[in-house]
Symmetry: C2
Subunit: 368 residues, 2 copies
């Protein structure tokens, strides 16, 4: 069993070569005032001894940790967000290429989140933060801005954005979604969204409204509902919207999880998705392809987004102007089979559903 713990230090290398440790350090950091001969002897010794500098010691002196932090919100719904998993994957890949690392922590409340950020900063464990799931009025952005600590956000907020951010053009996507549905023949289009505290949820709702507006369709607030951002919320939202007298024939959902729940509600109550009711989601989850019917959805690459924000943050850490890193990406609609022309009028749909609502659902009693 070879040792790794009390491993070889810069002093060992220096002694082995017969130079001062400062010289070894300069060679390793590409200083130019070292003769080629000495440089090579040192490089050889480094290789022979298998020397790798201690990140801790280096950080102490340089004040940089080569580590980025991400604090992920948990506990709102249940379980982990599939989007975040891929996002983190993207970050980790990007950082790996640059030799940086990612510190992941979780927080179950806003207060806890700020506390955690504060601790990581005070203990100097990270150089900067990646902030996800921005809120409209985000306490993290406020805190970090106030203290001048480097960070990038995935998503914007309503605060003055003098920081780096990357976001998806949610408004355009949802406005486009509405126009797509309208062109299919839907005139009553419903929206199932999430808490408007979340910036993306607000933007998607706004995009939905703007889309209607641009078409000159009269808006009906009864066609909008806000739910927990999971399948159960989607199920409940579909029930709420569809059980009206004049239900929407299409449901635009803020996330795939909502859409999956909504589809479930429809199927459970004898409504054919893709004709009786159209459902569109957002996220491009792989599982959406295997839902019945396969889910039509907007997608963005979470992994790519992760890589993008990482590189932004690194540029910011290198001293570049944060406000020069602000980018908006477009989502693309992946059409599968959950959307189509309406087969029934709103009224007929309402009648059909209500006749079913007193019967048993076809399978189990999910989400009820």
């Amino acid at each position: 069993m070879s040792r790794l713990r009390g491993s070889v230090t810069i002093d060992d290398v220096a002694r082995h070569v017969g130079v001062a440790k400062g010289t070894v350090s300069r060679v390793l950091n590409n200083y130019t005032d070292i003769s080629e001969a000495t440089r090579e002897r040192i490089l050889k010794a480094v290789k022979d001894l298998g020397y790798q500098p201690s990140a801790t010691a280096r950080n102490l002196k340089r004040g940089r940790q080569d580590t980025l932090g991400i604090v992920i919100p948990v506990g709102h719904g249940n379980g982990a967000d599939p989007f975040l998993a891929e996002f983190i994957d993207g970050i980790a890949r990007a950082l790996d290429e640059l030799g940086l690392d990612l510190l992941v922590t979780t927080a179950h409340s806003r207060e806890h989140m700020i506390e955690t950020i504060q601790r990581l900063i005070a203990r100097r464990k990270v150089d900067g933060f990646i902030i996800t799931r921005t809120e409209v009025n985000d306490p993290r952005i406020a805190f970090l801005s106030e203290h001048g600590f480097p960070f990038v956000t995935h998503g914007r907020s309503c605060l003055p954005a003098n920081h780096a951010w990357f976001d998806i053009d949610n408004e355009t996507a949802f406005a486009d979604g509405v126009r797509h549905l309208y062109s299919l023949g839907h005139e009553r289009i419903g929206f199932i969204g999430g808490s408007l505290d979340l910036n993306f949820a607000l933007q998607r709702r706004d995009g939905y409204r703007h889309g209607l507006q641009s078409l000159g369709v009269t808006q009906d607030r009864a066609l909008e509902t806000l739910q927990d951002l999971n399948e159960k919320g989607g199920y409940a939202g579909a029930r709420e919207l569809l059980s009206q007298v004049y239900p929407p024939t299409a449901l635009l959902c803020a996330t795939d999880a909502l859409a999956i729940g909504a589809i479930r509600f429809c199927r459970n109550h004898g409504l054919k998705v893709g004709s009786d009711v159209t459902v569109i989601g957002y996220d491009g989850l792989p599982v959406g392809e295997y839902i019945d019917p396969p889910l039509t959805t907007f997608s963005q690459s979470a992994q790519e987004a992760g890589g993008r924000v990482s590189r932004m943050l690194i540029d910011v850490l290198d001293g570049k102007d944060p406000t020069s890193f602000q980018a908006l990406a477009q989502a693309t609609l992946t059409r599968r089979a959950s959307d189509g022309a309406p087969s029934k009028t709103s009224e007929a749909l309402g009648v059909a559903l209500r006749s079913r609502l007193n019967q048993q659902p076809s399978y189990g009693n999910n989400g009820e």
Copy 2:
């Protein structure tokens, strides 16, 4: 904008109180040789100045980082593993309580994984590792054992297990699964698994075989297939097994993703899941409840597992005997609606499917 960067050090505190910095350090580390009066003065100053010790400096001297590492495999299939997301969530929660942090990195090959582990050890960025998705012959376990670096695994391997581990009793679960299916009336039971390099995949396959053996059912290797561990693999696996002359009437799948793909294949070809064909998965993914029909699955709490292994690793780091932390948990079967008594004989099922195989599938052409 208050400063956080060049923040308050132990020297500032010492100067403020008028003591040596060693004294401040001793107070903060609960040494007993400090008078109550001095202790209180120092504590007050610490509070007033908002002092928090630098993790870096402390680590340099103590040789401990208060950070655990996890290297997650990526790129095999596509996207992130939903199990891992929850698992990491569980780890992060447990560590948060103890003031430790989690360093997450990714690796796209075995070599890269070992390299990454090596780098993190050499640079002294972590105190120990959490190893997931153990392989039957796992190079990471071999490497870490050889170098005497602390680690815990989630899952066993065939190597001599003189380390801490936590695992699910995959064999028992799958043997039980087979017996459950048999008791429903299934006599030809198929298995869709994954690469046998993965320890859990091997164990589940073995459990399947043992289950059949315990019932005295003759085994047929044509009823087993190994696929990529995602929905697409499940789809392909179902096609392979069901398109035989004497197809299985039940499919036991190694993961929920496989099961979801298998269900999709059945539905696409007019087979009623839960009667014509029974499908059982493993993982307890939330989305399984919203599949049609809702997926019957084995489940374990990934989050709980994450917490469990974290605490084990911390005990190991505290110097306790690793071999005293080895635990096996039982998975539980969550019955939903994808299993039931067979409605057709194997032969009739084969006939029904083949008559459909030349037709169009109902929706799209997923996985084909």
